[in-house]
Each structure stands twice: as structure tokens, then as C-alpha cells.
């Protein structure tokens, strides 16, 4: 059961709730075809970063319009990509003349609408780029990395892009760093079902898991996840990673930190340093226990841009 007035109005009402909870921080862009939030008092002369995607599941996206993450967020209805027109309007509204970078997860509707927005903006002489995040190692198995879908790893790319934009990098530079982050970013969903089954990599549109084993312990869950991610990152010979644990809707605070601890230890045991880590609820698309784990194989350039960013009720 959902606590809201109606599904049709819930997302708009939630955005208004955010404005009440944090007055003075945001401005709302409201159109008949969708809405979004952007931060007030943005510094002049910087590339703008917009995060976007389907609406309704955690701080991703409305909660991500925060210092150190993104300048604006646009979301569509539940499970629907935002409208290209709204993306275009948001970019036009906040562009400071240095261009706009869109960050979204790589799903068909998101890709199409972001790509369309780029064309509309180009026609008006506004420079814009998009980076499509494809960190989900269990989607599109056998296809190239770029074809995959995205999970919560996008938060790390947003941090990279936002830091680069904040120090005055050009749009091309910000875009390049975002793409480099995406290349070296891997995530996996670990869903634990009531009857004690641990599902590795189920998709949120009903795609079956790639592996299903009896659940034993947090250590077991973490080993399966971390080893799978490290195998994927092998081409980059990672010495150091940033770890991020996303709690699914029924994972509690304590469980989250138990998982984080187990993951740090597993990585250390494998000889990999952890330059930073975070746990929280960023993307709560599954109504079950479990988590998503992401690893970003960092280098010095990325490390310099990977501070912590905080939202209303999370730090990532």
C-alpha cells in the first residue's frame, strides 16, 4: 500500500514537499509536460550538470540537485523517461553560456529523450552533451559495456562531473571525465527474497536474475557481489576503488553498514585500497531486502574529484 493521494499527482506533490522542507534552495521548473528542480544562486560561468531519469524511486533524481552532485534534476512519471521538451527547457533555463551536461542511466526512453533534447538545444545554439551511465553488470550480458543499463553508480559520475564543472572545466572536459567514470564503474543488484533466496542481478522490469543461491550471510552476499564486480574491472587493473552501497527499500541502517564493512574487508583482502565509501538509500526501486553495490576504479584524476556529497537525508 502506498501512502499518497493519487499515483498521478504523487511525484508533483513530493517535489512541492521538498520545497517546503528546504525553502530557499530550489526553484521549480513547471511545465504541462513535466517538472524539475534546479538550485538557486548557481555560480556564473560554469558548465551545468543535469541528472534525469524515471521518477519515483528514492533521492534519485529529485534529491540529487545538490551541491557536489548536480545543478538540476528532471524526472518523468513513475518508470517513464522525462520528456525531451522538459530537459530542453531545463537546460535553457540554467545554462550559463558554458554548456550543459545531461547524466542519465542508459535505458531506451532516457537515451531517446536526452538525445532529442541535445538536438533541440543544438538548434538554438546551446552547447550540450549527454553521458549515459551503464554500470549494471547483469544487464545485456554478452554485449558491450555501453549497451548495459544503469543503477545507482550514477551518483559517483555526478560527483566527478560536478567537481570538474565547479573548478571551471569546459563542457568537453566535464563530459570526458564523466565518460571515463562510467567506463570504470560497475554495479550489481543483490536482492534477498523472503524465503531466503539470494538473487544476483534481477532487473527492475522483471528480467530474471543471472544467479540464484540460498542466502547465508552478509559476508556471503558481499563476496559474490564484490568478486563479480572486480572480475569486470580487471582490464583496468584496479588498485583503488570508491565503494557505494545502495540499500533496497527493506534494508535497514544497521544492515547497510554491516554490508559496507564486509565489502571494505573483502576488497582489502584482495589487495585493493578503498579511497572512500558510502551507504544509503539512493535508488529504492525494489520493494525487498537487499542492496546494490557499486565500485568505481579510481585514478588520481578521479580521486581529486570524489568528495562526499550530501542531500536532504543521504550522503553519497
Amino acid at each position: 500500500m502506498w501512502i499518497w493521494n493519487s499515483e498521478e499527482t504523487a511525484l508533483r506533490e513530493a517535489l512541492e514537499g521538498i520545497l517546503y522542507a528546504e525553502p530557499g534552495i530550489y526553484e521549480k521548473l513547471d511545465t504541462k509536460y513535466g517538472c524539475g528542480l534546479f538550485r538557486k544562486h548557481l555560480p556564473e560561468d560554469q558548465v551545468r550538470v543535469i541528472v534525469d531519469g524515471g521518477g519515483g524511486y528514492g533521492p534519485m533524481w529529485a534529491g540529487f540537485a545538490r551541491q557536489g552532485l548536480a545543478d538540476a534534476a528532471v524526472h518523468g512519471e513513475f518508470n517513464c523517461a522525462p520528456n525531451a521538451y522538459v530537459l530542453y527547457e531545463m537546460a535553457k533555463t540554467i545554462d550559463a553560456g558554458k554548456g550543459v551536461l545531461f547524466l542519465c542511466n542508459h535505458f531506451m526512453g532516457d537515451y531517446l529523450n536526452n538525445d532529442m533534447a541535445l538536438e533541440l538545444l543544438a538548434h538554438e545554439g546551446i552547447r550540450a552533451r549527454a553521458c549515459y551511465i551503464s554500470d549494471d553488470v547483469c544487464s545485456c550480458i554478452g554485449e558491450e559495456k555501453e549497451s548495459r543499463g544503469g543503477l545507482h553508480g550514477i551518483a559517483q559520475v555526478a560527483k566527478l562531473a560536478s567537481a570538474a564543472a565547479g573548478r571551471g572545466d569546459s563542457l568537453e572536459q566535464v563530459w570526458r571525465l564523466a565518460k571515463k567514470g562510467n567506463e570504470r564503474l560497475r554495479s550489481v543488484t543483490m536482492k534477498v527474497e523472503e524465503e531466503g533466496k539470494l538473487l544476483v542481478g534481477p532487473g527492475f522490469s522483471g528480467e530474471p536474475p543471472v544467479e540464484s543461491v540460498p542466502f547465508e550471510s552478509a559476508d556471503q552476499l558481499v563476496s559474490l557481489a564484490v568478486d563479480r564486480l572486480l572480475a569486470e574491472l580487471e582490464p583496468y587493473g584496479p588498485k583503488e576503488v570508491f565503494l557505494c552501497v545502495n540499500r533496497l527499500r527493506r534494508m535497514c541502517f544497521t544492515e547497510g553498514f554491516v554490508v559496507l564493512r564486509a565489502a571494505v574487508r573483502r576488497l582489502q583482502k584482495k589487495g585493493i585500497a578503498v579511497c572512500g565509501s558510502s551507504v544509503g538509500t539512493y535508488f529504492d526501486v525494489f520493494d525487498s531486502n537487499g542492496c546494490m553495490i557499486s565500485l568505481l576504479a579510481v585514478d588520481e584524476e578521479m580521486k581529486a574529484c570524489l568528495g562526499k556529497a550530501s542531500g536532504y537525508d543521504f550522503t553519497v
Binding site: K32, Y33, G76, C80, A81, N83, A84, Y85, M108, G109, L112, N113, D115, M116, E119, L120, H123
Partner: protein
Amino acid sequence: MGQINVETLQEMFFHGAELIIEKEPRLTEIDSVIGDGDHGTGMKRGFSAVKMMLCERKFHYVDELCQAVSLELIKSMGGASGVIFGTMFFGGIGRLPHGDAVSTEELADYFYDGEQAIERRGRSKPGQKTMLDALYPAVCALKEHAGTQAGDMLAAAYQAAAKGAEKSKGILPKVGRSKNFREEAIGLPDPGAVSVSYLFRAFSEVLGN
């Protein structure tokens, strides 16, 4: 070579919108067997918005008219099909003059580039049971007949689009369909291709065919 002035072009879009709205039940009927059933209502929503916009505004420049039609589809349809049909009318906008008339050559290039933009953006090709199965032959016919009068050129495009939509009946959908579903899809045209052929039919009717 022929010419179409902006008033006629606006009339073509208006009639196209009317025909799509009228044919919504047929589009829905096809799509509810081979797709998720929302193509007809999405198209009706988009082209109702186009129709209303065209009632309210009188255009003086062909490029502004085409851009407004595209934007209206993107805004009101949303999702993947809003972008795809928006791209059909936006992808070739650079080919249009900022003037009160368009030559048959320019119009052929405009629609051809729009089709190419859909292939690129949608990462698809004709032959995969999509709207491209009607649009690609239509834009090829436009190019081929660009040296003729506008009415003849659009009539040729309509015939090619209708033939293409008919041919899509024999194509198996590319991905993501169950075997049963795939078998049912044989014998039915792609709803997007049918929509494209309705549009060219309407364009051609306005020009007296």
C-alpha cells in the same frame, strides 16, 4: 521542380493530424495485438495537440511551421514514440528555407534527413517491423520524384509508404517478443508504418490526389 507555399504545407499537416485522429481505432486495434496497445492513443494525443496548435497559429515560415509540429509531438506524446515522430519532422529541419515556400527538392531532402535521423537515434534500420518500413520507401520516392510537381511527388511517396506498410505484414518483429506473439505479428502491419502511410496519404490528398 515544384513548390509548396507555407499555407498549403500547414494545410497538409492539419489534414494529416485529422486523418491520424480519425484512424486511431484502427491503429489501436493493430497495436493491441502486436505491441503494447498504446500506439493509437499516443498518436491521437500527439496529433490532437498538433491540430489545436495549427488552429491557433498561422505560420509565415516553413521551417518554423515544421519545428512547431515536431515540438508539439515531442511534448504531448512523450516517451519513445514522441521522440521518434518528433525526429521525423525535426531531423531535416536544416534543409528547409526560412521562407514562405519550399521547393520539392528541399522538401524531399527534409523528409529524407528526418528518416536518416530516426535510423541514427533509434539505432534501427528498415526491415525490422518499425515505422521505417513505410518511411524509408516514402522518402526514397520523394527524392526520386523531386523534379516533378509537388502533387505527383507526394502521391508517389504515399504509394511507396502504403506499399511499405503492407510489406511490413510479412516481417517478424526483431526482439523482445514471445514466440506466440511473433507468430501473431505475422499478417499484421507495423502500426507506426501504418501511421506514416496515413500521413503521406493526407499530404497527398491536400495536393489534389
